[in-house]
Subunit: 556 residues, 2 copies
């Protein structure tokens, strides 16, 4: 993994494509990798990263565990262990069609033969990009948007996204921030054509990630009409359709419309990752009346197959309407609402603005006031400051947001984690606020923190320093960063830390590298024992505590 400030080198063994895949890591992946290397756990790793950056619903594990361990789930039939129909076993496609007919309120029963099941919506985006577009073709997508889609359509399929920028400040006839309108779609399409792009499709997210917006059927119809007029395919991602908990908005699936404007070019995506809180189950579905598309997807299905037993289990869940309607869905909604309320209250206390929405697992929050200047380089510094405080969030630029300073904060984690996350966020924001004080009035972060009653030595790094302690993400970002580093010297607090630490090279290593080194050493030598006293002399108790924890962990 790319950790510390090592710059990844071109590897002569891999192809140019392989190197580019390996070296290119977006911000979301960087955070995700760091989190995976150092997950918070109340008991075994209390100083690990709290992840309010990855959109997962962790509120309903108890309900799912109970259901997924009922005896009906333990069924193995010969067909489950044999090569399947790559579009999905017919029993599952039938259940998906019934499920979508009911929960999307389609006017007519949906047909199983229009359903394709793959191992997740990322796979579906990849396969759709390959079958609807040729390499270097483009797809329109309003931004901000769930950033991983960029890689989903590009890595294998070499399709590029063309952004339709939405802005935090309403413009023209807009009545709300980040409002999507047909005019904006028209303008972006024109622009793309001027740039010589061959635009083949439009991606719409509804409910929207990260905006939390739910589009009315009138709005959606307008977007679909626009696409029809320009002969664009539309991929409508409705993966959060059952995660709408706000009272104001009612979600309407495009499958509920009385006739789609262009059914041969409209493809509706859903999956169990979000609405059934099972991102790890790897099941996504597409519904399309375009039979040739279904057939083309079939050809790619062998790369995106779902295990037979998993297909069976998912069919069992979808057909268990008692459990869905009486247990899971209402309780899930209640918990979503409760967690959402908690986070919104906390954000209000912190005087952080956010659009009030009631869908998805996240709040789209405006942290621009914590930026020294309104640039994406500064936004990245704020993001790194959170990560330094062992809190993973997603910053707007990872979602190609046009306005800097916005962050997506996930609220669907267990209460104690969410609380700890909010706590760490506060600490980070206080530090950031401190660094906003003009240069001549600045004191060290240590003093600021002590006065706030929360000082620990590991908290003394400033946002400037964090630029160095985590890896460079994409080359564009690296460029931005280097510019900042040139103009801003390291602060006194940073030097203090390095001196107090007693190991001059340690401040440039991330916690993850440390764990890696520890685990290696602990198994082969007495390195840690030897270094312990050296470490104990002159460091504060918290740091020692972290070290002791790591020692325990590494010994396991």
């Amino acid at each position: 993994m790319l950790l510390g400030d090592q710059t990844p080198q071109y590897n002569p063994y891999l192809s140019r494509r392989g190197n580019s895949m390996r070296i290119h890591q977006g911000i979301l992946q960087e955070g995700y990798n760091q989190y995976h290397a150092n997950k918070h756990d109340e008991k075994s790793n209390p100083h690990g990263i709290i992840n309010l950056g990855t959109s997962e619903n962790k509120l309903c594990f108890d309900l799912l565990q109970k259901r997924l361990t009922r005896p009906d789930m333990l069924n193995i039939e010969p067909a489950f262990l044999q090569y399947p129909d790559w579009k999905g076993h017919s029993f599952l496609r039938e259940e998906v069609a019934k499920f979508l007919s009911d929960y999307c309120c389609s006017p007519k029963p949906l047909k199983p033969e229009n359903v394709v099941v793959m191992n997740g919506c990322g796979s579906l985006f990849s396969a759709l990009a390959a079958t609807l577009c040729d390499p270097e073709d483009a797809i329109l997508i309003p931004s901000p948007f769930y950033g991983v889609i960029t890689e989903d359509v590009d890595l294998y399929s070499s399709v590029k996204l063309h952004h339709v920028p939405l802005y935090s400040q309403p413009r023209g006839s807009d009545v709300r921030p980040f409002q999507l309108t047909v005019d904006k779609l028209e303008n972006s399409l024109k622009e793309a054509k001027t740039e010589g792009l061959n635009v083949k499709a439009l991606i719409l997210l509804n409910p929207h990630n990260p905006l939390g917006e739910v589009y009315s059927s009138e709005e959606m119809t307008g977007f679909l009409q626009f696409a029809k007029m320009h002969q664009l395919h539309v991929i409508v991602d409705e993966i959060y359709m059952l995660s709408v908990f706000g009272e104001k908005h009612t979600f309407r699936s495009v499958l509920s419309l009385d006739g789609l404007p262009d059914p041969q070019r409209t493809h509706v995506m859903w999956g169990v990752s979000k609405d059934f809180a099972m991102a790890g189950m790897r099941v996504g579905t597409i519904y399309s009346e375009n039979k040739d598309l279904v057939q083309a997807l079939d050809q790619l299905g062998c790369f995106h197959g779902v295990p037979g037993p998993t297909q069976y289990q998912m069919a069992q869940l979808l057909r268990d309407r008692d459990w869905l309607n009486s247990e899971f869905l209402p309780e899930n909604k209640r918990r979503l609402k409760e967690a959402h309320e908690y986070l919104t209250e906390e954000l209000k206390k912190l005087d952080i603005p956010f659009p009030h929405r009631g869908a998805g697992f996240f709040i789209w929050a405006d942290l621009s006031k914590f930026l020294k200047e309104k640039t994406f380089a500064e936004e990245l510094c704020v993001w790194r400051c959170f990560l330094k405080h062992r809190l993973l969030l997603s910053c707007g630029q990872a979602f190609s947001c046009a306005s800097p300073g916005w962050f997506r904060i996930i609220f669907t984690d267990q209460q104690h984690k969410l609380q700890l996350g909010v706590q760490r966020m506060k600490t980070a924001l206080e530090e950031l606020q401190g660094s906003l004080v003009p240069e001549d009035q600045r004191t060290t972060a240590v003093e600021l923190k002590t006065s706030a009653g929360r000082a620990t030595r590991t908290d003394t790094k400033t946002t400037d320093e964090c630029k160095e302690t985590t890896l460079k993400s994409s080359s564009a970002q690296t460029k931005l960063e280097n510019t900042r580093i040139k103009t801003e010297p390291l602060s006194l607090a940073d030097e203090n830390f390095a001196i107090l630490n007693g190991q001059s090279n340690m401040h440039s290593e991330s916690l993850d590298t440390l764990i890696g080194a520890l685990q290696k050493q602990i198994h082969s030598s007495d390195w840690l024992e030897k270094h312990r006293p050296e470490l104990a002399a002159g460091v504060d108790p918290t740091q020692l505590e972290v070290f002791t924890d790591l020692l325990e962990k590494a010994r396991k």
Copy 2:
């Protein structure tokens, strides 16, 4: 699906790439799709297709079902339902490393961090092609070989295979048919370079599919040395490593060698599809010491993820050495051997030559004497004749075999299916033998069959006719076929069939199209009831019986 003799049309909604994926179907896929549309089942569909074409082990379902439904398999932990490490959960990578260390007899313990788990070896081939090669680069592969690899490396990754042809007749210093030698590798590499190809890697299958060959460690070392000298990556596919049952050969994994010639360029593949008889479980693994490759594969892992609960179950299986060593593996080997013996005896009775081997699920048989002339067009006719008799086999050209007339016959199906398959094979071969009689001595197939005591009206189509009743596969094959059709008029038997049938267009429809039409009609009208009397008049009892079966099936 492409059935009947409809030629697929270019669909203006899809991209060129999407159309090319949709329209291009290899012979293996064609057969696979036909089988999936009409699977044999003793009770519900006795006239369905017997599949001795797809390499699956169906001999051990009882053992697997028992093991996979033990209570330990029903465990759900939070991490299983969350986004995983895309290289595989660490608990599974650890088990895979231990498992491979033991069963490949590696001199040192293999390392979990060198393991990548994906949903099947097809996915691994795709991801390896993308990371080791740039588009249009080439990979050397000795032919014949498991034909699906062609699509695996091409569909997403646009990498081409360059064949190293092996021949049925030993040449030069060869001591056995289809012998792979370093000389042949050298010659093919030279040839590829002359053609301007950028060859990046070599794929080696050991045990070999379809040859059933097990290479000695001396031979393998020679191949690896060749690759090292030319700086080629080697993907060593050892997916049949535990399915070696012959007494003559002992399998040696390259992971057992004392040091690989070029460890940074050697990548060893395994999976549960074959050795654990679970093709439907979608789990494949790669072992590579090249850390940058592992990292690049990680980036593509999101398209090839395995569900958390499946990863857990596979780890449970791999660590259950009692079950593996005392139950599954010895019993599996016993059954493999028994089924192999049955088929070899039958082939001997039929005087069909085949190399004696003891690995894999198949016999590589020489049916060239049933070809009217030694061409691949004739081979395809023989393949279609089998399919007409509702027996799916794989013909040599689907594996890019350089000599026409070879077929891969799977023996790892349940006894009654294997027997029925052999029965249908005999019938088909008798028909083929009949058509080998010179034109002036020919009688209709009906008479031949009646004299053989096995005649049914549905068996009267000749090999010539079968060209029309199944779809065209790749364009190259279509060309071959058209040539044949031009030179050979339809036989009398064909015309007879069409007249007797009473529905002039029906003879050009396959059984699958029929089922499709039936199912559609039966649910919406009284079409079948109306057509039944018309059909009954003038057709033989067998055909009516098939129709009655279909009627029952369609009503369900």
